[in-house]
């Protein structure tokens, strides 16, 4: 069984391919096959795993031909983005660029153009990578995930969706159908920053910050970081420290001093835990600076 374990030329086992044209049909297939089935969206992660036999599903359920999962539409106070919407579609959307610049900045930074033409927003979330760029931006935007299952649909905050690396709330018979992303407050500024070995690589650390100032006082502050804990993280303690205060050098120093205690980075192939702790402070400083500069609609 060691044969082909690291051969990435082929997928070395058989499976059945399903391409449902409706959500109902997809849910029926998932209910029938349970954990023997996997959902195929962009395939940029799943097929790589299958080539290496890290997962060996007997059934693949391709959700890319389900029209409602491919919709990108305005909803009350925000956007609903279908889970099978490609990253490249978000990058090209003037509406996303104008109303959700933080998400736009994050998805534009992901992978290569080839990868963005394939990878979906839902796939990035369901993969539950601790470094998922879109997840970090969506946490700072306080997005909610839309889940459909045999008993109906539900809507839960994205923050509770991630359970750990590669683990989410989703059960084998459920599908992430989309994400609801509320608009940030009028006049808020935001920044997404990713530190990677190359611009193509996954993040060593990434950060998303959204900030609104009124008369120099922080009125709205959301900060999320990736690759510094088992899952993408909201830094609520720093948010509340800064809220209601002026963003003075002292306040900033105090915030930076809280970073280390708020994160739990590990050492892996991309960086050491020690490096991540240090660089997280630099990224927080940079993200808050850039977000502040972009407050009031200015955006370079």
């Amino acid at each position: 069984m060691e044969i082909n374990r690291v051969n990435t030329r082929i997928i070395p086992f058989r499976f059945e391919y399903h391409s449902p044209s409706s959500l109902g049909e997809a849910l029926t297939i998932l209910s029938r096959y349970g954990s023997e089935a996997r959902i195929l969206a962009g395939g940029t992660d799943l097929l790589v795993d299958m080539k290496q036999r890290l997962v060996e599903p007997r059934h693949l359920v391709d959700i890319k031909r389900i029209p409602e999962l491919r919709l990108l539409r305005e909803d009350v106070g925000g956007f609903i983005i279908g889970s099978a919407v490609k990253l490249r579609e978000l990058e090209r959307s003037e509406a996303i660029k104008g109303r959700l610049p933080l998400l736009h900045e994050a998805v534009s930074s992901m992978g290569s153009v080839q990868v963005r033409n394939m990878a979906t927003l839902g796939g990035n979330l369901c993969r539950a990578s601790p470094s998922a760029d879109a997840a970090v931006a969506l946490l700072a935007l306080e997005a909610e995930v839309l889940i459909a299952g045999p008993t109906g649909a539900k809507r839960v905050p994205l923050e509770g969706f991630f359970l750990g690396p590669r683990a989410t709330l989703l059960r084998p018979d459920e599908i992430l159908t989309g994400v609801y992303v509320p608009y940030p407050p009028e006049g808020a500024g935001s920044a997404f920053i990713k530190l990677g070995r190359t611009s193509l690589d996954l993040a060593i650390v990434n950060i998303a910050a959204a900030l609104k100032l009124r008369g120099g006082i922080v009125e709205h502050c959301r900060i999320a970081m990736g690759a510094v804990a088992p899952k993408p993280l909201r830094l609520r303690n720093i948010e509340s420290l800064l809220s209601g205060r002026e963003l003075t050098p002292e306040a900033l120093e105090e915030a930076l001093g809280m970073v280390e205690a708020s994160i739990k980075p590990i050492t892996d192939i991309r960086a050491t835990a020690e490096y991540r702790r240090e660089v997280s402070k630099v990224l927080l400083r940079d993200a808050l600076k850039t977000a502040t500069e972009r407050c009031g609609g200015r955006r370079s």
Partner: protein
């Protein structure tokens, strides 16, 4: 499974296995060996083809997924025995050496010029960052894309 798709302008009907990758269908069954197997994990861009006009990685797409769609490979470029202007430009600027990465680069560059006919050097580098070249470096490749863009502008 029976699929039907348009390949380089021709309607094709083929039987594929669910676990067959688009790259292997093109190379092993249809004899189109331009797209290359490089890394197999979505990092090198050597397998780049256009799917409905957009550059994608054929080593990470199942053949069944292209049912009803349009696929273009390097073999579809050029007309009547003449090379595509991008191919000409790659040769003239010395942007090719061993040639392994070239089909992927040219297909990606084709899509770039289609959507942005006058890209800056920065835009070219950004768009082509998913394609790796281990021989020439990237200077001449960027020059080639610029040259092809300039000629296209001159012609129109």
């Amino acid at each position: 499974m029976r699929i039907e798709f348009t390949l380089n302008g021709r309607r094709r009907r083929v039987d594929v296995e669910p676990n067959q990758l688009l790259l292997n269908l093109l190379r092993d069954e249809l004899g189109l060996t331009g797209a290359k197997y490089g890394c197999g994990i979505g990092v090198c861009g050597a397998c780049t083809v256009l799917l409905d006009g957009e550059p994608v990685l054929s080593c990470l797409i199942l053949a069944v997924e292209v049912d009803g769609k349009t696929v273009e490979t390097i073999e579809g470029l050029g007309e009547g025995g003449r090379l595509d202007p991008l191919q000409e430009a790659f040769i003239e600027t010395g942007a090719i050496q061993c040639g392994f990465c070239t089909p992927g680069f040219i297909m990606a560059a084709k899509a770039l010029l289609e959507e942005n006919p006058e890209p800056t050097e920065r835009e070219i580098r950004e768009y082509l960052k998913g394609n790796l070249c281990r021989c020439t470096g990237y200077v001449n490749i960027v020059k080639a894309v610029k040259l092809a863009a300039e000629r296209a502008k001159y012609l129109t």
